[in-house]
């Protein structure tokens, strides 16, 4: 059977980004008045069903030179532009008691209140987004706000159109912000690579040496393929080598960050277990589900405070600690306390609890995953340089993992509870005879471990799925980390988690994700043969338990 001969596309012919800018700049020189009608028509066209028509409309609006066109296009790009059903006029909306309060998108006049059904959002597609960004950049390169100029300069980087280059040269003449100048300089250097004169090319090549922008590297690679002048060639090769050298260093730094970040996730997932399993000796198979409960708490907190997404995590962290901690106390009081001294049987009972918790979530909330949102400060990346960016969510979670670790360490080493916990863990009978209320300590310790698992769930909800099965993804890794580090030693858990994370990421590029993980497991198995009690073995009597 022939493979799909009948599928013909509905094509959307489209002015490319270059053509658009070209058009904008030419049209800007024309008298404006005659275009008002055209713009009015274009505004209506924005809510057309066809993306083709919409794109043409955007071109017209951008070319109109209306000072508010930029705002309108921004609103369109941001998905904030609606069309009034009655006359299809584009409007901005704000929620109001009766429905929406409308503002005219172009002149900003108040258009009164309407019901929700009276306006419809104007959708855009991938191509339009690109078109809009370029159009906005062209409109805003001369903006008085340096931040806006910076964005525009970034968007126009590497654009080879002579008119654009001319505009950039113009702007460079009056630009006083250094960051914007850098981008404009780079753009000009890239343009000069295509200059007729070898001397101009040579200067450009030298200017690009060591630049980490992908555009610079690509332009140099391209230049090398057809450069006639030997001197420019040699310079280009040197420049490129300098770039490659820098990129390698950056890639190494990036891998290290990836490894530490993966490690911090492992540490977070495992650290609660380091208490319930490591300190108390309970083989807590429900640990993963306690993480899940923490993640679901985050979800519920976000549902409960819809307008305050950016602060939701600060509420979720204590909430998850309390919810998972109380659940932990409940589990300890109702089941585990009957099983002390029979560690392997705690495995069976907690496995049963984990099944119940999973199904509980499935029936009370949903079998589907739930959407936990990222606050704005968790999105995006910290740009160190053009080739190295550290994503904020990973960075914060790395820091958070260390904070949790330090807090736990302080609790165990510096508080009365910590002292009692360690006493009970080392010698229950002795501790009791010294007046420690071991039952209370057990409950609190287990609650602490469970609470920390819940807090880990808050962090993990920012990285991955939140669903009934999420706990199972972490339980095995968590046990590996605790055992590798040495049962009963928090430092061991920290070092083990970070080591395994970095080892995994170092191997991943050449072995692939799966094989890297297998190799890490084999490594742990062999390592335990060498050091049967992990990296930091516990010494003394308790070690025989």
């Amino acid at each position: 059977m022939p493979m799909n001969p009948t599928c013909r596309s509905r094509r959307f012919p489209h002015l490319g980004g270059l053509g658009l800018v070209f058009g904008v700049l030419i049209l800007m020189m024309l008298p404006l008045g005659s275009m008002a009608d055209e713009i009015d028509a274009a505004l209506i066209d924005l809510s057309d069903r066809s993306f083709e028509v919409k794109q043409a409309a955007v071109d017209v609006i951008a070319a109109g030179g209306d000072p508010r066109a930029g705002t309108l296009l921004e609103a369109l790009l941001g998905g904030n532009l609606y069309a009034r059903e009655s006359d299809r006029r584009p409007v901005l909306v704000a929620p109001s008691p009766g429905g929406y309060r409308l503002t005219d998108a172009l002149d900003g006049s108040d258009l009164g209140e309407v019901e929700r059904g009276a306006v419809k959002k104007i959708t855009i597609n991938n191509r339009m987004r690109n078109q809009l960004r370029t159009a906005i950049a062209a409109l805003t390169l001369a903006s008085p706000d340096p931040e806006i100029r910076l964005k525009a300069a970034q968007q126009m980087l590497g654009d080879a159109n002579p008119i654009v280059v001319e505009a950039i040269r113009d702007q460079l003449g009056r630009e006083d912000d250094q960051r914007v100048r850098d981008y404009l300089d780079l753009s000009l250097a890239l343009a000069s690579l295509r200059d007729e004169a070898p001397a101009a090319r040579l200067a450009a090549v030298n200017a690009l040496s060591g630049s980490l922008y992908p555009a610079a590297r690509n332009a140099l690679t391209k230049l090398l393929s057809d450069e006639p002048d030997p001197e420019v060639r040699a310079a280009a090769e040197r420049s490129l080598a300098a770039i490659e050298q820098k990129l390698k260093l950056n890639a190494a730094a990036e891998t290290l960050f990836f490894g530490l970040s993966l490690g911090s996730v492992l540490v977070l997932a495992a650290i609660g277990l380091a208490i319930t399993f490591g300190v108390m000796g309970v083989i807590n198979m429900a640990h993963g589900e306690l993480i899940m409960i923490g993640a679901y708490t985050t979800y519920l907190v976000q549902q409960a405070m819809p307008g305050f997404l950016d602060y939701s995590l600060f509420v979720a962290i204590p909430a998850a600690f309390v919810v998972a901690g109380l659940l932990g106390v409940l589990i300890e009081r109702s089941v585990i306390r009957f099983l002390y001294g029979r560690p392997l049987e705690t495995l069976l009972a907690t496995f049963g609890i984990s099944l119940i918790l999973q199904q509980l979530v499935r029936t009370t909330i949903s079998a589907q995953n739930v959407a936990v949102q990222n606050p704005s400060w968790m999105s995006g990346a910290l740009q160190i340089n053009p080739a190295l960016a550290l994503t904020y969510n990973r960075l914060y979670i790395l820091i958070f993992a260390l904070m949790v670790f330090v807090a736990l360490l302080l609790i165990l080493k510096r508080t009365a509870l910590g002292l009692q916990v360690r006493a009970v863990a080392q010698n229950r009978a002795m501790a009791r005879s010294m007046g420690v209320r071991s039952a209370r300590v057990d409950a609190l310790t287990f609650g602490l471990g469970a609470g920390v698992a819940g807090v880990a769930g808050v962090a993990l909800s920012q990285l991955t799925n939140v669903g009934p099965n999420m706990g199972q993804a972490y339980i095995i890794d968590s046990f590996m980390v605790v055992v590798f580090g040495g049962v009963g030693n928090l430092w061991g858990t920290l070092v083990a988690g970070l080591t395994l994370g970095v080892a995994n990421k170092l191997m991943e590029p050449w072995a692939g994700a799966v094989l890297a993980k297998i190799l890490v497991l084999v490594f742990i198995i062999l390592f335990i043969q060498k050091r049967p009690r992990g990296l930091f073995p516990q010494r003394g009597r308790a070690a025989d338990g």
Binding site: L339, F351, L355, Q359, I476, F479, V522, Q529, P532, R533
Partner: protein, 376 residues
């Protein structure tokens, strides 16, 4: 040493074997001789289901041998089971011959459509039943031997050992998931046609496999009884209860452990090999660490260190699973989870211990009666 001597004193085991014998005689008759319309007819579905339970029971016995009598909580026995299953699966795959969907004379379907040009070396020989059968025992045995040799020599014990066995099965699962390994990746091996020339779809073959499973369970059970009643078994129990002391007395603890662990792995391999033709598929999911945990739970529910308890536990839990997944698809995990919790809390010796508990309870209620009972 006869059957009678190894079974002496094992009343639960005697009853279990007797039930097994009766079922093995009655079920084939009810399946093959009784017409389908009769209420006494046992459907082929049931026969296959019982066959599957029996292989699980054998696996549970293998786990109980190392956990109950040697004190090693293996969270990786599913790995040995899976390896035995894969060996049998490879044989069954080769038996398909040119009846695969692409009609290739040698290569299994999944290799054809992933553009393999020839059979990889480790698939050679699996067209012969005896070779595959040998591998189903030797591969798990060898793996257990190497793993045990390293672990027991360096005295990895307790939870460390448990977690390491878990790492082992987890690593195997990830490895078998990889399509490059040449074991069919996530899909595993399936669409089997026949075994030793007998059509796998025929009732008679299914009965045959059912009987083979019953036989393997009986033999495996007797072998384990023989071990636990032998001198080796008594040393094993000593190791379980006081490892250091046994070592100081002069026993080679690591060798005893290694021997029993390896034997147990081989038994698990046999169970796997019998399991695959009855369920019709083997895939990496069998290596899942959760499976290993589950089978430890069968043993715990049946009653640890009784052997026959493992059989009861395996059959009961799996029957419960079959029944509840059909009858209460939405709620069966609650029931299963609650069962695990309740058994650990209230029946620390499992169902096998229940008899003893009832006996004690009755005795405490009417001391006179129990005294009278004790008299003869």
């Amino acid at each position: 040493m006869g059957v009678a001597s190894v079974m002496r004193g094992d009343r639960g085991g005697q009853a279990m074997l007797a039930v097994l014998l009766v079922v093995a005689v009655v079920v084939p008759i009810l399946n093959l001789m009784v017409p389908e319309s009769s209420p006494w007819h046992v459907s082929t579905y049931t026969v296959t289901l019982l066959g599957k339970y029996l292989t699980y029971a054998l696996l549970a016995v293998a786990v109980d041998l190392v956990w109950g009598y040697l004190g090693i909580l293996s969270l990786g026995h599913a790995a040995f089971f899976g390896l035995g299953g894969y060996a049998m699966g490879m044989y069954l795959m080769r038996q398909i011959g040119d009846r695969g969907v692409y009609g290739h004379p040698v290569l299994p379907d999944f290799m054809v459509f992933l553009n393999w040009s020839e059979l990889p070396w480790f698939w050679q020989g699996f067209d012969l039943f005896w070779f595959a059968a040998l591998m189903a025992i030797l591969v798990p045995g060898t793996l257990a031997f190497i793993f045990g040799y390293l672990a027991f020599r360096s005295r990895v014990t307790g939870v460390y050992l448990s977690i390491m066995t878990q790492a082992l099965t987890y690593a195997l699962m990830l490895a078998f998931f990889r399509n490059e390994m040449g074991f069919g990746g996530n899909n595993g091996l399936t669409d089997f046609k026949d075994i030793l020339g007998f059509d796998l779809k025929s009732d008679a073959t299914r009965i045959g496999l059912f009987l083979a499973s019953a036989g393997a369970l009986a033999l495996g059970y007797l072998a384990c009884r023989w071990i636990v009643t032998s001198r080796l078994g008594r040393v094993a129990v000593a190791i379980r209860d006081a490892e250091a002391r046994t070592r100081f007395i002069g026993y080679r603890v690591d060798r005893v452990k290694l021997a029993i662990f390896t034997f147990s792995a081989m038994l698990a391999g046999v169970a796997g090999a019998l399991y695959v033709p009855q369920v019709g598929i083997i895939n990496p999911g069998e290596f899942s660490p959760l499976n290993s945990i589950e089978l430890v739970i069968w043993v715990a529910i049946g009653g640890r260190a009784t052997l026959y308890g493992a059989v009861i536990g395996a059959i009961l839990v799996n029957y419960g699973k079959t029944y509840f997944t059909g009858a209460f698809p939405e709620a069966w995990l609650f029931a299963l989870g609650a069962l695990f919790v309740i058994v650990t809390l209230f029946l620390p010796k499992g169902i096998a211990g229940l008899v003893g508990m009832i006996r004690t309870w009755r005795r405490s209620r009417s001391p006179a009666e129990s005294a009278a009972e004790a008299a003869p």
